[in-house]
Symmetry: C2
Subunit: 184 residues, 2 copies
């Protein structure tokens, strides 16, 4: 039942109903066109639809458009150079004070962040996940730059915009990572 994807660049592109997932790639180059507030809110709505432990939704999102704030990120993050060309980014944070089941916020906020990346792609935009947690220097840099309160930890930062690079789907399917019933 494997069918050609809508993007059509691979014979192993998977079921076309999954094209929105299978076509997402990390996009690090953006045009000057700014992203509207309503699109950003659509992306945040997708983020907040993610599943979370006990449906506790222990997340916060900082929408960053201030040029000086965006440009300060590479002073503490070694892979954030592309943010100087992005007009907007979203910082995904976990709030341990909101957790009913302790220890799940990283998973909860990661599902929200993946929804953000997929929503960006589905809306014709492009973005990239910049890892923050558990890097101590990056966490400290974010806490200072974004004035985070105690108990709130930055998970990742996602710069995005209208894409200025085109990437086709990449098939990462590996049968050696699939096991039946038990590991052995």
């Amino acid at each position: 039942m494997t069918t050609k994807s809508e993007s059509g660049s691979s014979s192993h592109a998977g079921d076309s109903r999954l094209a929105g997932i299978l076509g997402r790639r990390s996009i690090r180059l953006y045009t000057d066109q700014s992203v509207s507030e309503s699109l950003v809110n659509d992306i945040l709505r997708a983020a907040m639809t993610a599943p979370s432990a006990g449906n506790q939704q222990p997340w916060h999102f900082i929408v960053i458009r201030d040029r000086a704030v965006l440009d300060a990120v590479p002073t503490f993050h070694p892979y954030a150079g592309m943010i100087r060309k992005a007009s907007v980014a979203i910082l995904v944070c976990g709030d341990e004070r909101l957790e009913k089941f302790k220890g799940y916020w990283v998973q909860d906020c990661s599902t929200a962040a993946e929804n953000i990346l997929l929503a960006i792609h589905l809306l014709g935009l492009g973005g990239v996940w910049l890892g923050i947690y558990p890097g101590a220097d990056r966490i400290k840099g974010c806490a200072e730059l974004f004035h985070l309160p105690t108990g709130v930890t930055p998970l990742c930062l996602i710069p995005f915009g209208y894409p200025a690079e085109v990437k086709g789907p990449e098939d990462r399917f590996r049968t050696d990572r699939i096991h039946q019933n038990v590991w052995g």
Copy 2:
């Protein structure tokens, strides 16, 4: 630009291009119809398309169809009763031995797990995320039942199937979780 979703049950259902994300719900009731191997592989292809730190893809997936194995899960997991009616489940595991950047496997495997849940929904199926990590008893139960080697940690278990319950989208958008430029 907020438009009515394809499912159409809410006036705040968001951009219709995001219906595949916004319509996903936790489904715990399944019919007797089994899920084909090709659909399971499509779901795993979606999982493996997820972003990961350094694109290291530190994940493994165990596809469980053995009735005795499925039925053993509730002996160590208090919220897994629905698995007795599921014909298939996927255990998502992280492999620290595959990590180039240490400490990111929980995030990487959570993005893969969210892709699994979204793919299940997009294919007309239904499933639910059962948390395993960081619960010590659940990790131990999985390690024994699935014969996991040292260095491999179970993150979550996702039973799924053809849905025997219908749930509309739930709008979880909260403006109090959105901040501009900095927290304050």
